[in-house]
């Protein structure tokens, strides 16, 4: 039998798509929702950021003025940006390393103990408003646990107004954020460590790996590179979005704007002042920072173990 030559040609895109109709149909419901509530808003946000929009009147095109105002005139935005970058630079890497370190140690345990430790470390990230407890710990008078503890042991003579003193706000928020940052990435690391082939360790021992640190660097980390990439995305994204703990613990506006972040600033304009154009400009800057940092870190992580 001779196949007609035409059938061997590369089929047109349309006919390939028609052949895979069922695949597209199955994906349609999800991607319809995804496009409407995730992709479209990103594009819309960029568009709205070039307008003046207050939800009542039609948006008016004002070009780059929102961005000019944001970057040149808005002092509070600059403080928020500085705080957010500080958060990202400190809590991002530290929480990432802690996730990895704790997962690695938990992996040495077995059965019930492992499950228990996983729960203890993961629970803060899912316990909703439990970070209100930090309000009680950090209460500014002698009734606060931390003040009472420090005064009992003569570290301090007078109670410290933790959340009302600009210089303490940032360090305290960083500690609380680290406390609740062992989330999805942490679980991915625990799971990833369990899947590493045991024979790799035996082979490495024969090849002269002498201690657990060498083993971690030369065997474990390269073997769980995909999880490292995933965990990085989870931790980085979360570290740029810090807002809730600042609003709840330091209030808005916080003293000297010491707890202001890009997201609190965005929500101030978006949900309180209804300046949708301006808050969209903030959102677009935030989007570019989050995605840009993620892409950069992905590139760096590809080099692990190489």
């Amino acid at each position: 039998m001779v196949t007609p030559k035409k059938a061997q040609d590369k089929p047109s895109l349309g006919s390939v798509m028609a052949k895979n109709k069922i695949s597209y149909l199955m994906m349609a419901p999800y991607f319809l929702v995804f496009a409407t509530f995730t992709m479209l808003p990103v594009v819309a946000s960029m568009f709205i950021s070039l307008t003046y929009f207050n939800m009542l009147e039609m948006p008016q095109w004002i070009g780059w003025s929102n961005y000019l105002k944001l970057l040149l005139e808005d002092d509070i935005f600059m403080i928020s940006l500085k705080n957010t970058l500080l958060f990202a630079v400190i809590t991002g890497p530290i929480s990432y390393i802690l996730c990895l370190l704790f997962a690695w140690i938990i992996n040495e345990f077995k059965g019930k103990m492992r499950a228990f430790l996983t729960l203890i470390f993961y629970a803060p990230s899912i316990s909703g408003q439990a970070f209100f407890v930090w309000n009680i710990i950090l209460t500014g008078d002698r009734y606060g646990y931390l003040n009472a503890f420090l005064m009992d042991n003569d570290f301090i003579q007078e109670p410290i107004l933790w959340m009302k003193t600009a210089k303490y706000i940032m360090p305290v928020l960083i500690v609380v954020q680290l406390w609740l940052s062992l989330g999805t990435g942490f679980l991915a690391f625990i799971a990833g460590l369990q899947t590493i082939d045991k024979s790799l360790y035996e082979a490495a021992a024969i090849d002269g790996i002498k201690n657990r640190w060498q083993e971690l660097w030369y065997v474990t980390l390269p073997a769980m590179k995909p999880q490292l990439m995933f965990g990085a995305v989870m931790q980085i994204t979360a570290s740029f979005a810090i807002a809730d703990i600042s609003l709840q613990l330091a209030g808005n506006p916080s003293v000297g704007y010491a707890g202001a972040t890009v997201v609190t600033h965005l929500q101030d304009y978006g949900t309180i002042r209804f300046e949708m154009g301006y808050s969209s400009a903030i959102a677009t800057v935030l989007f570019l920072m989050m995605v840009g940092t993620n892409k950069l870190v992905q590139r760096l992580l590809r080099k692990v173990g190489d």
Partner: protein
């Protein structure tokens, strides 16, 4: 059964190990020094105490009588445990303007539809992405990964506009439908489905099963851990979302919002607030505890390959 060397009067001889030895032999781990173990476990214990302390305080405060909550100096552990905070809370609940059962119904309705809808349409979309070849596959998945790199705050302004435009503002659907397109869920499901052997899908095809049937009878029963994981993650996200932005009618608000309102009732409700924080944290933690092994199983495939 293993052969081991034992000492005897005639020098070392080789014998079969006994039942007792087999079950209690120390697994020799490679590259583990005792000093290293001790160091890491002490470190782990200290961090464990730091992580658990706020949760321990939360539990203790929930069962403290009021005079102990306001005691000076503050104590971490309760002296006379009582459930009066919870009974007070139930009294407040029964006195709300909207009957409390309505809040429970709202939460069950919102959770039920958002979780089942998400698991269903995300699995349906994940199957072609994991097992079919068609144009646009890589692009779609890249978009989903991109969505993991920013948070909902970025899109909140346009989302509000879109939800209003669709006419679902101030209805349950304003919370439910956007939740269906949650990116992490699709990502985890697709990665998990990829490990199902192609031969399984192939043999179903040879038996004459269509794609939808293959999906429903071959794929879905094999990804049960991933369903549970998607459901739990979706639940956690929705539970943390009190829905203030979209839902303004009191009779449509979820349970969490109502409980927060009670807790915000000032100093005389401090005890009840403690009970609220406890309940809001206990529910997601309990769900996680029950599903821990399924979630970890799903997370083993969470790595990013590209």
């Amino acid at each position: 059964m293993r052969l081991i060397k034992v000492k005897s009067s005639d020098g070392p001889i080789v014998v079969k190990e006994t039942f007792f030895q087999r079950h209690f032999r120390k697994e020799k781990k490679l590259n583990r020094s005792r000093a290293g173990n001790t160091l890491l476990f002490v470190f782990m214990a200290l961090c464990g105490v730091f992580m658990a302390m706020p949760l321990v305080m939360m539990v203790n405060n929930a069962i403290k009588p009021l005079d102990e909550i306001f005691q000076f100096p503050p104590r971490i552990f309760v002296r006379n445990p009582t459930f009066e905070n919870f009974t007070d809370l139930f009294v407040s609940m029964s006195e709300t303007w909207v009957p409390f059962s309505r809040y429970v119904f709202n939460t069950v309705f919102i959770m039920g539809f958002s979780v089942t809808g998400h698991v269903l349409i995300a699995s349906m979309a994940a199957y072609p992405l994991a097992k079919h070849k068609f144009p646009g596959k890589k692009l779609l998945f890249t978009l989903v990964i991109l969505s993991l790199m920013f948070t909902w705050q970025v899109t909140q302004v346009p989302n509000y506009v879109i939800v209003s435009y669709l006419g679902i503002n101030n209805t349950y659907w304003a919370l439910i439908i956007p939740a269906w397109g949650y990116g992490l869920g699709l990502y985890l499901m697709k990665q998990f489905m990829e490990q199902i052997p192609d031969s399984l899908v192939e043999s179903a095809r040879i038996d004459g099963a269509g794609e939808v049937r293959t999906f429903w009878t071959i794929i879905m029963p094999n990804v049960k851990p991933a369903w549970l994981t998607l459901a739990i993650f979706q639940f956690q996200t929705m539970w943390a979302n009190t829905g203030y932005t979209f839902i303004r009618s009191e009779e449509l608000k979820p349970l969490q919002a109502a409980m927060n309102q009670i807790a915000a009732g000032g100093a005389q409700r401090t005890g009840q607030a403690m009970a609220v924080i406890f309940i809001l944290a206990a529910i997601p933690i309990t769900f996680f505890l029950i599903c821990q092994s399924s979630i970890l199983e799903t997370m083993t495939t969470s790595g990013m390959k590209e």
